[in-house]
Amino acid sequence: MSEIKKIKNLKEFSTSADRFEGANLLCPGCAHSIIVREILNATNDDLILGSSTGCLEVCTAVYPYTSWDNSWIHIGFENSSTAIAGAEAMHKAKKRKGTLISDRDPKFVAFGGDGSTYDIGFQWISGCFERGHDMMYVCLDNEVYANTGGQRSSATPIGSSTVTTPAGSHSYGEKKDKKDMLSIMAAHNAPYVAQVAPNKWKDMIKKIQTGFATEGPVYINAMSACTTEWKFDPADTIAVSDLATDSLVFPLYEIINGTELNITYRPKNIVPVKDYLGAQGRFKHLFKPENAHVLDEWQKRTDAKWDLLQRREEARV
């Protein structure tokens, strides 16, 4: 077992050498690369990485360039999890037989967007977690199929206007609520499941390092504010992420062994959900008088979710 990198504060963290390179083709202000940087810099170990089809994959491997300084593979929309699980199984088998070419123990990380995690790759991820591979799966959750032009996914929240659920005179946009992926993954009896946000970097690093130190499959749900599809100014990525975590739309918590839920971030000042929704163009139509009931519904559901999390934390279920 390799030792955990010591990161006491941001100054110490800033001595890290990035293993994700610039001149990738992600949009200016994209949160994807902030998340990837924080994950890659959280460890000094070798990494074996995989990406499902999505923004991260198409933008970081545009021929003739690669933006990755570690072994990285792209296979299909659904199977970054199985590709990484296969690599992990091979590493374990070769280690057992003593035929590894190097004695270094890499970490195995698969990246996927919310489309490939919540919808298309769901069965494959479920399989990996059931078999118990020693890997980490990171979902970069921007709540929409951003790479293909903004279609709804099952991570799209209620009221969001996307190209397949457009808001207009007959509709307020997406009608269904977001799938609770963390509870689903925790129900696999995964040893570690956590929700992270790039603006709370210290919380994120801690969770990623716990994930790396955990034996078995780890699921990380990373909130990724999408400047293009959420429709806000590229400079406001961190401000919008702050609103998301402080309004409790994205509560930060972890679930250990499927039951021990810990809330890791409690905002000092909880901001109204309205502030978070108002900062984004995709919810602009909700502020018309005829859609006021959706705003109330949003606040009600967010409060109910937070209440449930607190009760789960107390009851350890």
Partner: protein
């Protein structure tokens, strides 16, 4: 962007394999960018400078080395060495402006200016004064 002239897309082997480095490398996680043997197929050797409409300008005088810009830069463009912020990598900066938004000093030590304004010394000389609360 410079294209690799040796291969077009249609005479490349199926199952593309791109090497990030020219030489065998060990402990990349502890090797800084300037010491790495980058290959031509690493995007570090490319540039997205032509994406910028606005550019960040760094004024060292007000910087407190908090490193907020370093952690939140999506394009690895804030160069920090020995816990000090020393400059901006203008080849990889896309001009999103996150660094300016997260800068906590008063006045800010990073500000966005039009890309065509070339004389950075003049911009720094005309830096806005401290804002009274």
């Amino acid at each position: 962007m410079a294209k690799n002239e040796n291969n077009g897309w249609n005479d490349f082997d199926i199952g593309a394999l791109l090497f990030s480095f020219d030489k065998e490398t060990k402990n990349i996680a502890t090797t800084l960018q300037e010491d790495r043997p980058y290959s031509n197929s690493n995007s570090f050797t490319a540039s997205v400078a032509d994406w910028r409409v606005m550019k960040p300008v760094f004024n060292k005088e007000f910087c407190i080395d908090c490193q907020f810009c370093w952690i939140y830069c999506p394009d690895m463009s804030i160069i920090s060495r020995d816990k000090k912020m020393i400059g901006i990598d203008m080849d990889h900066c896309k001009g999103c402006g996150i660094c300016v938004e997260v800068c906590p000093t008063n006045p800010k030590s990073l500000l966005m200016y039009d890309e065509h304004l070339e004389d950075e010394e003049a911009l720094i000389a005309a830096w806005p004064a401290k804002e009274e609360k």
